[in-house]
C-alpha cells in the first residue's frame, strides 16, 4: 500500500518535471493571454507608456459594434474566405486527380506542387506584387486579351482582393493535394468497377462516389481555410499598402483589402491596444463558433 502511494507520487513528480518547461511557456504565453486579453480589451492607453492603461469597462466593445470599418473588414474576410476556400479545394482536388494515375515522373510534379507551401509567405507576396503591378508580366499578359489594367491588379479595388486570393490559392494548393491524394488512393477500385457495371458515367461516379468519400477532408480544409482567413495578414501587408486601394462607402473611406487581421494590426500601429484587444476577442468568439459548428457536423455524420 505504502509503495503504491509512493509510486503514484513519484510518477506525478516525474511527469510534471517532464512537462514543466512546456507548461511554463504554455501558461505564460498561451493560457494567461486569453484572460489578459479580456482585461486589456476593457482598457484604454492614456499616457505615452504602455503601463498607463486605464480601465474603461465595455467602452471599446460599444465603439466596436458601431465601427463601420470593422464590419467592412469582417465582410472582406468573409469574401476572402469565400474565394480562397472553394478555389483552394477545387485546385488541390484537380491536382490530386491528375496525380492519382500511374505515370512515370509523377513524384517530380508532386514535389513541384508542394514546394510553394514551405516558402516564406512575405516573399511570395512580394513576388506576386511585382508580377501584378502595372507593366508587370501578368498585367501585360492580360493586355493581349484587351484587358487593360493601368494601375495594376492590386491597384484596382475590384480586383485587388481577388488577386491576393489567386496568389494564395496557388501557393497553398499542394497541401490539400497531398491530403486528397492519400484519400483517393484509399478508395477501393472495386467500387468504381461496380459502378461501371451498373452503367454509371464518370461524372456520376465523381459526384456520387468520389466526392462523398472525400467529405472529411473537404470539411477539414474549410476549417483550415477559415482560420487562415481570420489570420490573414502577411499576404495583405506584402501585396498592398495600408489596406489596399480606397473604396468610398457613403462618407467612409475604406480599404479594399483591409481584412480583420490587417485592421487589427493597424490599430496596434496606432497604439490602440485596448481596442485591438477587443477586436481579437470578437475574432476568438467567431473561431469558437466555427469549431462548434464543425464538431456538430462531424457528430451528425457519425
Amino acid at each position: 500500500m505504502l509503495s503504491n502511494i509512493t509510486k503514484k507520487t513519484r510518477d506525478n513528480l516525474v511527469s510534471y518535471a517532464l512537462l514543466s518547461p512546456f507548461l511554463i511557456i504554455f501558461i505564460v504565453f498561451l493560457a494567461f493571454p486569453i484572460f489578459y486579453s479580456l482585461y486589456l480589451s476593457m482598457c484604454e492607453k492614456t499616457g505615452y507608456s504602455i503601463s498607463n492603461l486605464t480601465f474603461v469597462g465595455i467602452k471599446n466593445y460599444s465603439i466596436l459594434i458601431h465601427d463601420i470599418e470593422f464590419w467592412w473588414s469582417l465582410l472582406l474576410t468573409f469574401c476572402y474566405a469565400a474565394m480562397t476556400i472553394p478555389g483552394g479545394i477545387a485546385l488541390s482536388l484537380l491536382l490530386a486527380m491528375l496525380l492519382n494515375n500511374k505515370l512515370p515522373g509523377k513524384t517530380i510534379f508532386r514535389s513541384a506542387f508542394f514546394l510553394p507551401n514551405v516558402l516564406d509567405l512575405l516573399v511570395v507576396g512580394i513576388i506576386w506584387k511585382l508580377l501584378y503591378s502595372g507593366g508587370g508580366y501578368i498585367t501585360t499578359f492580360l493586355s493581349f486579351f484587351g484587358i487593360s489594367m493601368k494601375s495594376g491588379i492590386l491597384g484596382n479595388p475590384w480586383t485587388a482582393l481577388l488577386g491576393i486570393a489567386i496568389a494564395m490559392i496557388l501557393k497553398g494548393a499542394g497541401f490539400g493535394m497531398i491530403l486528397f491524394l492519400a484519400a483517393l488512393q484509399n478508395i477501393p477500385q472495386a467500387i468504381y468497377e461496380a459502378a461501371d457495371i451498373d452503367g454509371a458515367t464518370k461524372t456520376q461516379q465523381f459526384f456520387k462516389i468520389t466526392l462523398p468519400l472525400l467529405k472529411p477532408i473537404i470539411l477539414f480544409m474549410v476549417i483550415m481555410g477559415t482560420m487562415a482567413s481570420l489570420n490573414a495578414f502577411t499576404e495583405i501587408y506584402a501585396m498592398t499598402d495600408n489596406g489596399g486601394p480606397v473604396v468610398l462607402l457613403g462618407n467612409h473611406t475604406l480599404g479594399a483589402t483591409k481584412l480583420t487581421g490587417y485592421y487589427l494590426f493597424s490599430k496596434w500601429q496606432n497604439h490602440e491596444y485596448g481596442y485591438a484587444a477587443a477586436m481579437s476577442y470578437v475574432l476568438l468568439i467567431i473561431a469558437v463558433l466555427i469549431s462548434l459548428i464543425n464538431s456538430y457536423i462531424l457528430r451528425r455524420e457519425d
Binding site: L19, P116, L119, L122, Y137, I178
Partner: protein
C-alpha cells in the same frame, strides 16, 4: 491519349504554380532596370553579359547587410526549433508513457487551444513582452513560441507505439528517465523529432508578423531577421525589382533546397495533423 491529357494538365498546372519562382530567380540575375524586358534567352554571349549579372546578389549580401539578417534568421529559427522540439518531446513522452494527475483533462485543454486564431495572441503577448522588458530582443522573438501543442500531439501518438516492455526492460537494467529518453525514446522517435524540428524551423523562418511587432524598426539592425529586413527594404527600394528579387532568393533558395532533401519529413509533418486529428 489519356496519358497525353494527363501530362498536359500536369505541365500546365506546374507552370502555373512554379512561374512566380522562376520569374523571381531569373529577375535576380538581371541588370538593374531590365526586370520588365520580356526576353529571357540571349542571342549571343555578348548579349548574355549585357542581360545577366551576379552583382545584385553581392550588393544585397554585402552592402545591404542581408548576410547578417540571414544569420539572425538562422539563430532565431534554429534556437526556437531546438527548444520547442525538446520541450514537446519531454511533454509528449510524459503524455504517452506516464500516468499523472489530470492527464487527459490537461491534454484536451491543450488541444482545444489549437482552434484559437494566432492573430488573437498578438496584442496580449506584445504587452506582456514589453512589460517584461524583452522588447527588441531575441528572447521576445523566440520564447513565446516554444510551447508547441501540435508537437505534443505528434510525439505522443508516436511514442505510444513504442512497447512498454522495452521501457520496463531498461528500468530493470537500472536506467533512469534521462537514460530511457536518450537510449530508447530519442533514437526510435528520431524521424518524428526531425519532422517537428523542420516544421518549427519553417514556422519561425517565416514568422514575419511577430518578428515585426516585437522589434523596433529603427533600432533592430543587430537582431533583424530576413522577412522584416525584406519588408523594410521594400519601402525605399520598391522600384529596384532586381535587388528585391536577389534579396528574396536568400530566403527562398535555402528552404527550397532543404525541402528537396527532406521532403518526406516536410510532407508528413504538414499533413499528419490533418490525417490523425
Amino acid at each position: 491519349m489519356k496519358k497525353f491529357v494527363l501530362y498536359t494538365g500536369l505541365i500546365l498546372s506546374g507552370i502555373l504554380v512554379m512561374f512566380p519562382f522562376v520569374w523571381m530567380f531569373s529577375t535576380a540575375f538581371k541588370i538593374p532596370g531590365t526586370a520588365l524586358k520580356f526576353q529571357l534567352f540571349p542571342h549571343s554571349i555578348a548579349e548574355f553579359h549585357s542581360m545577366y549579372t551576379l552583382e545584385n546578389f553581392s550588393k544585397v549580401w554585402h552592402e545591404m547587410n542581408f548576410s547578417t539578417y540571414f544569420i539572425h534568421s538562422l539563430i532565431v529559427a534554429g534556437t526556437a526549433a531546438f527548444f520547442a522540439t525538446l520541450f514537446a518531446m519531454l511533454a509528449g513522452y510524459a503524455f504517452a508513457k506516464k500516468n499523472f494527475f489530470g492527464k487527459e483533462k490537461l491534454y484536451y485543454l491543450l488541444l482545444s487551444t489549437m482552434m484559437i486564431p494566432g492573430m488573437m495572441y498578438m496584442i496580449p503577448q506584445f504587452v506582456i513582452i514589453v512589460k517584461m522588458g524583452w522588447y527588441n530582443t531575441y528572447k521576445a522573438m523566440i520564447i513565446p513560441h516554444l510551447a508547441s501543442v501540435f508537437g505534443i500531439l505528434l510525439l505522443r501518438q508516436f511514442i505510444e507505439t513504442i512497447p512498454d516492455s522495452l521501457l520496463e526492460a531498461a528500468r530493470i537494467d537500472g536506467a533512469g528517465e534521462i537514460q530511457i529518453l536518450r537510449r530508447i525514446i530519442i533514437p526510435l522517435a528520431f524521424p518524428v523529432i526531425i519532422t517537428l524540428f523542420l516544421m518549427t524551423f519553417l514556422f519561425h523562418w517565416s514568422n514575419f508578423l511577430w518578428q515585426l511587432v516585437v522589434t523596433d524598426p529603427g533600432l533592430s539592425a543587430n537582431i533583424r531577421t530576413l522577412p522584416v529586413a525584406l519588408a523594410l527594404f521594400q519601402g525605399p527600394h520598391g522600384n529596384e525589382w532586381e535587388l528585391m528579387m536577389a534579396a528574396s532568393c536568400f530566403s527562398i533558395v535555402p528552404i527550397a533546397i532543404l525541402f528537396l532533401f527532406a521532403q518526406k519529413f516536410f510532407i508528413e509533418g504538414m499533413t499528419q495533423g490533418a490525417v490523425k486529428g
